[in-house]
Assembly symmetry: C2
Amino acid sequence: MSIISNKMVAALAGASLVRRMFEEGLRLKASFGAENVFDFSLGNPDLPPPAVFKETLARLAREDGIHGYMPNAGWPKVRERVAEYLNVEQGAGLARPFTADQVVMTVGAAGGLNVVFKALLDPGDEVVTPRPYFMEYNFYADNHGARLVPAEPGPGFSLDISAIAAKLTPATRAVLLNSPQNPTGVIYPAERLADLGRLLAEAGARWGRPIFLVADEPYRKLAYDGRRPPSVFPAHPYSIVVHSHSKDMSIPGERIGYAAVNPDLPEGGPELAGALTLANRVLGFVNAPSLMQLTLAELQGAAVDVSRYQRRRDLFVQGLKAIGYRLDVPAGAFYLFPESPLADDEAFAALLKEEKILAVPGRGFAGPGYFRLCFCTPEEVIERALPGFARALEKAKAGASAR
Amino acid sequence: MSIISNKMVAALAGASLVRRMFEEGLRLKASFGAENVFDFSLGNPDLPPPAVFKETLARLAREDGIHGYMPNAGWPKVRERVAEYLNVEQGAGLARPFTADQVVMTVGAAGGLNVVFKALLDPGDEVVTPRPYFMEYNFYADNHGARLVPAEPGPGFSLDISAIAAKLTPATRAVLLNSPQNPTGVIYPAERLADLGRLLAEAGARWGRPIFLVADEPYRKLAYDGRRPPSVFPAHPYSIVVHSHSKDMSIPGERIGYAAVNPDLPEGGPELAGALTLANRVLGFVNAPSLMQLTLAELQGAAVDVSRYQRRRDLFVQGLKAIGYRLDVPAGAFYLFPESPLADDEAFAALLKEEKILAVPGRGFAGPGYFRLCFCTPEEVIERALPGFARALEKAKAGASAR
């Protein structure tokens, strides 16, 4: 008999694939030296935060009276600054402007999603999300007694409205989108979001309660070739965006982000804001870290040098295509999601590991038949890894033909 | 029909007493000026953080490479420093020393308690805690489908072992203690903790699974008259201490603390550490804020000037006793918990409000018949408030005799 909860015994078993992979990576690095292992497995931003981040942080660190409690939703002036920026970034097409009332500062996007789910979900409720997806979403729904329901994607991992429609039930309380998407890098176009909004409005009306569109957007500022990811807000009035500064500022260890409610919400705005704020408190976050709130308030709109990620993406995509891999060019985020040359993506990840290349099998994102590569690595590492990718592909072809 | 979850509708209704009080306080301050309202309601530490905190923070804020992801349990070197300090502070009487393996850095004590509960509790489980208690504990248990079971206190809010024994069932997975206690300031003596440990060992053996002793210790360093709060670790091998630096460093907005597992845990240590770490991740905390981890690692053992709280305590206790209030002298924390002169403590809090004094009725801590006063206020505020306390007491006596 275990001394921990039964739920956690099961969760630990389920989490063991990633942990085993992580531990094998550590062993490889210990054996061959970290510089000889090509680690594309973890989405850990390696670009430095913008210089203005350090300057602002160092200045605020010398101030007094900034480390105490504030309202659970965050410092009012911080929420005002975020609202001002949201009006610039995502205010087009909305009838009403964002104010501090629509913004709750959160412990990153992971904290923000849990706060949103706590506010919306009762035990037995369902959240629909298109495959492939960040597997932690399963935990986030389960934390509140709800259930994540995956929907099939369209061609090229596009947003398939009919596939989502097929998963809606009277228990559906939210559809969760992630655009730019981890692991595919897909950005959903405004027209598809509008289609989804119409679907959710119809279904919500039919069942007599709104279905929320929840957008997990930590990669919003990591979009390439001049793209600007369309906002979910004009697509559906019952929508909430969860943002994190982990990726756009390269500060994932600091846990700072926010949840923003659509200002055009037709009803219940104060109640929802109150629920998000109370959820922040009772889940044990209490509030987003104070110094980081104040720092990021001054840096709304700032971001790391995205052109550097774009150069890596281009180098990596061209290199893999030249070798013979099949993959789409990601529009955003910092991942490639190539087809696995073997039907068994875990077996192919093992072949890559023989070349000291660490990748995550697609099944780690409910996307079997693919594998994920993170390009949070210098270009030089990508270049040096390409011969290993070529050898692994040859082995896969040889093994497949030998069967 | 509400747009939020049914659970949250109920939670918002339950949280309305405190919110209403907070809002009335704001109204009073707006009407009469903040300096003319005596706010003893919120436990918001007003002493500045120790000078070394700002120095350390300002120095670290200029460093590079400190804002990225680290293991979900926290930076290994931070966990080592905490373990070293725990060996000094609470290592006496233990067979094995603390190491980094027993420490998980958390988003404050609220985050830490949720991480511990997630690791230990399945739906339907029970957590026993003595009255009065911090009401958020109800949410923390409910977040994981479990239930908080209050036990009666002994005389002077002492730890009544037989009252706890009466509440133990096969569903009991933990007993939660808070010493120094909010709201009473009581510190449990080592002998009572040892008695509790024996009780839990017997009950755990009888039902074939351990019952954990979980200690919520944000006030450990706020102990007066030279007291050192006894540790739960020597009392029961299945024990976990949750600490926060919110109160001892006056930085509650920064959300930094840790959970520490007893190094003498007889079984399952790595599994429990793994469960705490995974819980930190899947609940959405991911990790404790990085910069604050690194800052506090250098400041283990530091604290605000506790003698200033002690002087306020003495002034406040003497002042209230001279007027005719009945109360015990708190041994720790920064609260007084006097008897309410009216049986209805909410009615008496209303009388205090007529004197522009804000206090929390004891029922806000499952302690009806008392009221809580926080002395996170300058001595001058306490002195100026005493005449109002005297008038409220007179009104209460007059009203009581008139009935």
